[in-house]
């Protein structure tokens, strides 16, 4: 192409900020940008010419072929050609998600519904016990039947406390690994565990079975944690046992990821500084550990009325403030990063290839509303067939990002795809936005890349 024709082509280009670009000022004046469609993050030095050029382009757009900093930013999707409707790209993401049900299967398995803890905020009823033999056989048969058509299989272990039934995890895990290896399926596995039974021997068994991702809860300093998370006798605390197991995991050279979930209530929220000091001492600099803060809620348990919960707006703000403080101390940021990534704030229950299998073979979509009739979508048979009420299942697979007017206008739609909480949408008929969206500026500031690392 000649210089002249190139110039003519460039003259036909006009650019504007992407509808999915979010800008925020950092302490000290630097500009941070985030794009929810591309996952791009950028930091622009407040003293540079690029700062003003970018601010002007965000404000008014620009003409021609992007030069300098604008070229780098356009390449990451912060600026797009005028007239492009990026909502088409969100629609394509949602369509791809539905199509993924052909070659992807995610099972959240409950090897037992019993738990050795009695946390004060827990809503589970512990009525069902260990997974039955015919359900174990059904899970293995399901995996074997689907494997020839799968690219990915993910198993999440849930409960109750899954590690009170380690033999179920080992049996299904071994079978899943073998079947996936035979068919070239990419297999990954994780677990939500209270961590009390995650001794070095059990950890080794889990790693052998590719369980490498863990969510383990520490609810603040030992006194606050032991107030909220008690052993089954409702007397003994659990902090010291969990910490010993975490330290043993850290001492290994295995690759795994631990999300340390911190549930805070109005009392423990006041004592987070010493807890952050503690976390920094124990886990800073080890990228295998990252922290995720959640407010304690009234989740339907018998002690709901006695809980000192924070209100929704305060707790959303506090969660991000704490995440920012943890990241600033060198603790892992994967939880917050994940939440801002494409599809990262979409609930598993809204994914057409995700199913929860109870210990009795009952099928659900969501792990926080087992008693909800709409969540009871079917059953797994001993021969491995998923018998699903298609109408109920369809209620969970929303088209929020494609059909809800608010979602279509939303800058965060690529991250949640209108399905941050299908349960809330089903119950109320209205969209439920992820809490991080209301704090997006603070979240972007917490994740802004350090200068000079591009």
């Amino acid at each position: 192409m000649s210089d002249r024709s190139r110039a003519l082509r460039a003259a036909a280009l006009s650019w504007r900020a992407s509808r999915f670009t979010v800008a925020t000022a950092l302490p000290g004046g630097d500009l941070a940008l985030y794009n929810s469609l591309t996952g791009g993050l950028a930091r622009i030095d407040a003293t540079s010419e690029a700062f003003v050029v970018t601010a002007a382009a965000l404000h008014a757009g620009f003409d021609g072929m992007p030069q300098g900093a604008l070229a780098a930013l356009a390449l990451e999707g912060f600026f797009v050609p005028e007239g492009r409707d990026e909502r088409d790209e969100v629609d394509a993401l949602c369509a791809a998600e539905r199509a993924a049900a052909q070659d992807r299967l995610e099972l959240i398995l409950m090897p037992t519904e019993q738990c050795n803890f009695r946390c004060v905020y827990c809503a589970q009823t512990f009525e069902k016990g260990r997974m039955k033999r015919d359900v174990i056989d059904g899970v293995v048969a399901l995996i074997a039947a689907r494997a020839p058509h799968l690219r990915y299989l993910k198993i999440g272990w849930f409960g109750g406390e899954p590690l009170t039934a380690p033999e179920v995890i080992a049996e299904i895990g071994r079978a899943a690994r073998r079947i996936c290896a035979e068919h070239g399926v990419i297999y990954s596995s994780g677990m939500a565990t209270n961590g009390s039974l995650l001794t070095p021997d059990v950890f080794a068994m889990l790693i052998e079975n590719e369980v490498r991702r863990f969510q383990i809860t520490l609810d603040g300093t030992p006194d606050h944690h032991d107030r909220l998370r008690l052993m089954g006798d409702r007397k003994r605390g659990t902090f010291a046992t969990i910490l010993n197991n975490l330290r043993a995991m850290k001492a290994t050279d295995e690759w795994f990821g631990v999300t340390l979930r911190v549930n805070f209530d109005a009392e423990s929220a006041q004592a987070m500084t010493p807890f952050l000091d503690f976390l920094e001492t124990e886990f800073a600099g080890d990228a295998r550990f990252h922290i995720d803060f959640h407010p304690v809620g009234r989740w339907g348990g018998p002690q709901d009325d006695a809980l000192a919960v924070c209100d929704a707006q305060d707790s959303a703000q506090r969660s991000i403030e704490l995440a920012g403080a943890a990241i600033g101390r060198g603790l892992g940021d994967a939880a917050l990063r994940g939440r801002l990534s494409v599809g990262g704030s979409k609930c598993y229950a809204g994914r057409p290839y995700s199913f929860v299998v109870g210990s009795d073979g009952a099928l659900y979509k969501c792990t926080v509303a087992f008693d909800e009739p709409l969540n009871q979508i079917g059953a797994l048979t001993p021969s491995g067939e998923l018998v699903i009420d298609a109408d109920k299942h369809a209620r969970w697979i929303g088209r929020g990002a494609e059909e809800d007017a608010g979602c279509r206008a939303c800058s965060f739609a690529p991250a949640c795809q209108g399905d941050a909480c299908p349960l809330a949408r089903i119950r109320s008929g209205e969209r439920a936005c992820p809490s991080v969206k209301s704090q997006i500026g603070a979240a972007v500031a917490a994740l802004a890349p350090a200068r000079g690392r591009s």
Binding site: V22, A23, P81, G83, F256, A312, V368, P434
Partner: protein
């Protein structure tokens, strides 16, 4: 862009010479509006290549890291899938948000846009 009010606040932090440059750039853009053709919605492959070259050239030349680019985790998975390396893909999946990390999410999801 999503949050123009935040940008307005940012402009107030600029010094005088920065504000002058900002006004000049935005005025030029406003002046060109009437002359602007309908424009294109996509870059051609050749233009995309030019854009990459210009971006790389800028990153190589910038003296004091005026612009720092980062990425969230999803891209790591996309990149791993492109390589076809199973171990890389598994590691990328490991770095992703967990299936149940937002359990009890209904407690914080009453905020609407």
């Amino acid at each position: 862009m999503a949050n123009s009010k935040e940008l307005d606040e940012l402009l107030k932090t600029m010094n005088e010479s920065q504000q002058e440059l900002f006004r000049k750039l935005t005025a030029a853009r406003t002046a060109s509006a009437a002359l602007r053709p309908a424009g294109k919605l996509q870059l051609s492959p050749a233009e995309q290549q030019l854009l990459k070259q210009e971006a790389e050239s800028f990153k190589a030349k910038q003296r004091s890291a005026a612009l720092t680019i980062g990425q969230l985790v999803t891209t790591q998975l996309d990149a791993a899938v492109r390589t076809g390396d199973v171990e890389e893909i598994r590691r990328a999946i490991l770095g992703q948000h967990g299936a149940w990390d937002d359990c009890n999410c209904t407690s914080g999801s009453s905020l609407k846009s």
